[in-house]
């Protein structure tokens, strides 16, 4: 693609040394970007075109014939109970993870930020789950939440309540996975908030105190919250993007049993287990549309990050 839009004036090389230097630089530039550009075509552009093409066919991997079906795959998705359930599950998951994952992280960041000596310790403690391999940690959670041998239920029983079937009661599956999602994303968001807090000039707080902001609530609403606004926006969007990509916890904890599929897990099943390539391509485009809307929203907000 770099060769196609060669501007005319560069091809009509004149004898002047200036344009020869320019041309040498242009050639060097093209050579430098060539590997990346080829990979971009092979990994992003071609697959995108193929994906779009698949989505309007009934292609199944390995099948010999292929038929154009128009938008049938998309209409089928709307009537597909499993897909609609996966979509609803994912939305439910996101609706739980976003507020808790964002506001708990903000709370923790505010507490951690004001600790002087112990700050590093709390940062590590809360960030540790972000670094851990989620598949392994999901296995650990499965054990922790086990109805008979897990310590969580043991504690619940100790307090005199009935044990909770976190991972077998269909109603609780998505909330349980959302809780693990919050556990994983909390430290990450905390770090983003801490960065935002560090950027708030100290004298704004001092000005607020002299202006009569006597209690922490006033100072929070006069200074912290409005100035953290862009950070909060950013954290909300990244959290929702990662919420829409939830996969590992499902793959480990339920494998989609009891109607606990999520978008990505459903996609995985259709595309790679059942080989309904055409249909899966249509589902992929729907998934991509959701992520793109969130990403574009985020990009727009990144540009306006310094909006005052």
């Amino acid at each position: 693609m770099t060769a196609t839009d060669f501007p005319a004036e560069t091809t009509m090389a004149t004898a002047s040394s200036r344009s020869r230097t320019d041309r040498r630089m242009a050639l060097r530039g093209l050579a430098f970007v060539a590997p990346a550009a080829l990979l971009l075509i092979a990994i992003y552009i071609l697959p995108m075109i193929v994906l779009a093409a698949f989505s309007v066919t009934d292609y199944q991997l390995g099948a010999l014939s292929i038929r154009f079906v128009g938008l049938q795959n998309f209409t089928a998705a709307m009537d597909d109970d499993v897909f609609m359930r996966a979509f609803a599950n994912t939305v439910l998951y996101a609706v739980i993870v976003i507020p808790f994952g964002v506001f708990l992280a903000l709370g923790v960041a505010l507490l951690v930020y004001n600790r002087k000596r112990s700050r590093a310790f709390w940062e590590v403690a809360y960030f540790l789950p972000v670094t851990a391999t989620l598949v392994a940690m999901a296995t650990v959670w499965q054990f922790l939440l086990h109805p008979s041998i897990g310590p969580v239920n043991a504690a619940i029983k100790w307090f005199g309540f009935e044990p909770v079937a976190f991972l077998s009661n269909p109603v609780l599956l998505i909330p349980t996975m959302a809780m693990i999602g919050i556990w994983q994303v909390l430290g990450f968001n905390m770090v983003l908030f801490l960065a935002g807090l560090t950027a708030i000039p100290k004298d704004l707080y001092e000005a607020a105190r002299l202006d009569g902001a006597r209690n922490p609530i006033d100072r929070f609403f006069t200074v912290t919250w409005p100035i953290l606004g862009p950070t909060t926006m950013f954290v909300v969007v990244t959290t929702s993007i990662s919420a829409f990509k939830v996969f590992e916890t499902v793959a480990v904890l339920t494998k989609g049993r009891f109607g606990s599929e999520t978008l990505l897990f459903n996609l995985y099943l259709e595309g790679f287990e059942y080989s309904n390539t055409g249909y899966a391509a249509a589902l992929t485009l729907i998934f991509l549309a959701i992520v793109l809307i969130l990403s574009i929203w985020q990009t727009v907000h990144m540009d306006r990050k310094v909006h005052y």
């Binding site: 970007v33 540790l128 392994a136 990009t299």
Partner: protein
Amino acid sequence: MAYVRRYLPHLVLAIGAFVMLLPFYWMFLTSIRSPGEIFDVSLWPIPKDFSAGENFSRAASQVPMARFMLNGVIVCLGILIVQVLTAVPAAYALAKLRFPGRRLLMTLVIAALCVPIQALALPLFVGLAMTELLNTYFAMMAPFFLSVFAIFLFHQSFRSYPNEIIEAARMDGFSEMEICWRLVLRGSLPSLAAFSVFSLVAHWNDLYWPMIVVSDTNLAPPPLGMLYFADVESGANYGALMAGATIITAPMLVCFLLVRRHFIAGITMTGVK
């Protein structure tokens, strides 16, 4: 009262940290307990019967745990090396050279930033299946050879490198490659470190793509291996299962504790991406 006010934040943080760290503690504790203590839900740190050896050797014998780790290392390093080799010159050219198609390439890079790999998995899988490349290291690494994020990140950081130095270096007879790798990249080592962490962590922990292209146990990276192992054990031997989980999470945890700053910077990029 003042006492309570002073220590209340610590108390709240401690309760939260207990929840955050409980899984790690429980994982480690179970991995050194004997299977017989499985019904012991106490958090007492010293097991009655110390069976770390037994659990870890079972984890290593039931499935090829060492093989999983090796696969993880090969795949992660392979990906990182190719990513850096392709992204650094491209970012340098985008930041410092003028050539036709520069704007278009930059636009495509930024557009590609918004596309998650899961959206491309299907056509890439079909392509690999047709060329009979499934179940190879190449299949596990190929989609990640190009990191548009690396291009974007290095572009941002290279842009601030002074043009005068580059021009002076050209006059001194440096080749463009030398300028790119030895001068400009040298000025962006923190970005390189953070990106390396970002890339290693992302691919060490990735499950989705390996699950699609690998069915051969011998090629499984750690997360997929963990999934196989969990299936094999199917809840029977938690001690060994937790030993496996410990082995798989340990490398990243240790790295994190060693290079905390770079680590946080690197992982935070996953959000910025």
